[in-house]
């Protein structure tokens, strides 16, 4: 369009780094979310408190502050990570905190009756949790975590401030070369949109399908981030 093919290609390469970072941060976030989310439901008070502390710390500060912390402060304590992995760590821990609420609330929102009928069928609690409750929670989690992935994609833009060569950083460099902030940032926004929109659409479709098949209502009420 207003940019040459070479320039578009440069941006797309940045976008591939964006995707790579997101694909690394997402599993980390999932892992953390499950550990923290299940800890919130633990019988032991100390486990719950640790989980709450972790979640409050990572939800109380923004991802950008956490990125700076991993990038500038951790090296002072001996943990020097290459920028990309610093970014993956920060985003993974941040989104893990938000994800933990998804894990906890989907489990808690499984209908009470499912626990009751499991008792009526003489199932031990652990069996009921494994075969009846968790599967239902997991089904609802899929579209919710799908939306979290989209948010992670957007959040990778923050890594541009610590010089990770993702899409936004590539944009900054290109603006420096071309002096066309409108065309470049416009293109950058378009690429983010082109990547996120199909995913968002897919999640909405998935929600409908899940509801049609299982009747488990997938509630979606996230915070803006």
């Amino acid at each position: 369009m207003l940019l040459s093919w070479v320039q578009w290609e440069f941006l797309i390469r940045g976008a591939s780094v964006t995707l790579g970072v997101a694909l690394l941060a997402f599993p980390l976030a999932l892992f953390v979310a499950f550990v923290a989310g299940l800890s919130l439901l633990s019988q032991h008070k100390i486990v719950r408190i640790l989980a709450i502390a972790y979640i409050e710390i990572f939800r109380g500060t923004s991802a950008l502050v956490q990125i700076f912390f991993v990038f500038f402060v951790l090296p002072l304590f001996g943990l020097e990570l290459p920028p990309i992995f610093a970014g993956v760590l920060a985003l993974g821990m941040n989104f893990g905190a938000y994800g933990s609420h998804i894990v906890r609330s989907t489990i808690q929102n499984v209908d009470r009756g499912q626990w009751e009928v499991s008792t009526a069928l003489n199932m031990p609690r652990t069996l009921a949790m494994r075969r009846i409750i968790m599967p239902q929670a997991l089904i609802v989690m899929v579209p919710l975590f799908g939306n979290e992935f989209i948010r992670i994609l957007k959040a990778t833009a923050l890594l541009s401030v610590v010089t990770v060569p993702e899409l936004t950083f590539s944009g900054k460099i290109l603006v420096g070369h071309t002096g066309l902030p409108g065309a470049v940032y416009g293109a950058v926004l378009l690429i983010y949109f082109a990547a996120s929109f199909p995913l968002a659409f897919g999640m909405k479709w998935l929600e409908k399908k899940i509801n049609a098949q299982f009747g488990i209502i997938a509630f979606a009420r996230g915070t803006a981030e």
């Binding site: 009756g113 009526a120 003489n122 199932m123 009846i132 299982f214």
Partner: protein
């Protein structure tokens, strides 16, 4: 299907279900106060009364979904849940409890089918996972029971695709798959559209006819109660107000409270 000869042998010895001095409150609301009830093996007991009268609580306590605040519940003479450990009475969720609880099955007002499993899998889940049956044995059992409730063709359907009446019939098959000796029915038609009630009650009537199971039925369907039950109890405020034969309690009750309750039901 449970063996009728089996239950007849026990009939002569020990009462099947026994509530002794059972109390239960929810917050400030005392639903049952030192409640006593004996249900002999093989009896068909219908429980009627207004909501909040404690009838559903009785079933829930029996199924160990709730714990009594005081008193004991005995099944065939064995205590359910509460045991004496080092001189103290404690609730133990363990093998002993499960061994006693195995004899009891329950069907709920809102069916509670497993939405993430097909009809067939709903029925074989507990037999395979809890009783240790092989998939083949469980599937055979499921096949028989689904035929009994008239849902055999829908074995591969998902609960979401079924009507309320169909779901409830599957729920009955699922409960029967565990071969309980005591079946609890908690207002199983109250959540159904009127035209679907009949198909479910038909199944319960058949179970009553063909087996010797002890049945405790909480219901608002008076005609059904009259058909199936050999004893009816009217409860109010956590107490038994009237207790007797269906013809008496439902046809010509002695207590004025029973009369006014029945009148209000008929006016629906």
């Amino acid at each position: 299907m449970p063996d009728t000869a089996d239950s007849k042998a026990i009939l002569d010895s020990v009462p099947c279900v026994e509530f002794r001095g059972v109390s239960k409150s929810y917050g400030s609301n005392q639903v049952l106060r030192e409640f006593d009830l004996t249900v002999p093996a093989g009896q068909r007991l219908a429980l009627i009364g207004r909501s909040g009268s404690g009838k559903t609580t009785l079933l829930r306590l029996l199924m160990t979904i709730e714990r009594p605040d005081a008193g004991t519940i005995n099944i065939d003479g064995e205590p359910l849940g509460w045991r004496s450990v080092d001189g103290k009475i404690v609730w133990r969720e363990d093998d002993a409890l499960r061994r006693v609880r195995r004899k009891i099955g329950m069907v709920f007002q809102h069916f509670n089918l497993f939405p993430h499993m097909t009809v067939l899998n709903n029925v074989i889940e507990a037999p395979t996972q809890v009783l240790g049956l092989s998939k083949r044995e469980a599937a055979d059992r499921a096949d028989r029971l689904l035929s009994l409730v008239g849902m055999r063709e829908k074995a591969e359907a998902w609960p979401r695709q079924l009507s309320g009446g169909q779901q409830q019939r599957v729920a009955i098959a699922r409960a029967l798959a565990m071969e309980p000796r005591i079946m609890l029915f908690d207002e199983i038609t109250s959540a159904l559209d009127p035209e679907l009630v009949g198909e479910v009650l038909r199944v319960v009537r058949q179970i009553a006819r063909d087996t010797g199971m002890t049945m405790l039925i909480v219901t608002h369907e008076m005609n059904f109660a009259r058909d199936v039950a050999d004893r009816v109890i009217f409860m109010s405020g956590g107490k038994i107000v009237e207790d007797g034969l269906p013809e008496t309690v439902l046809g010509d009750p002695r207590q004025p409270e029973t009369r006014s309750f029945l009148r209000s039901i008929l006016e629906r």
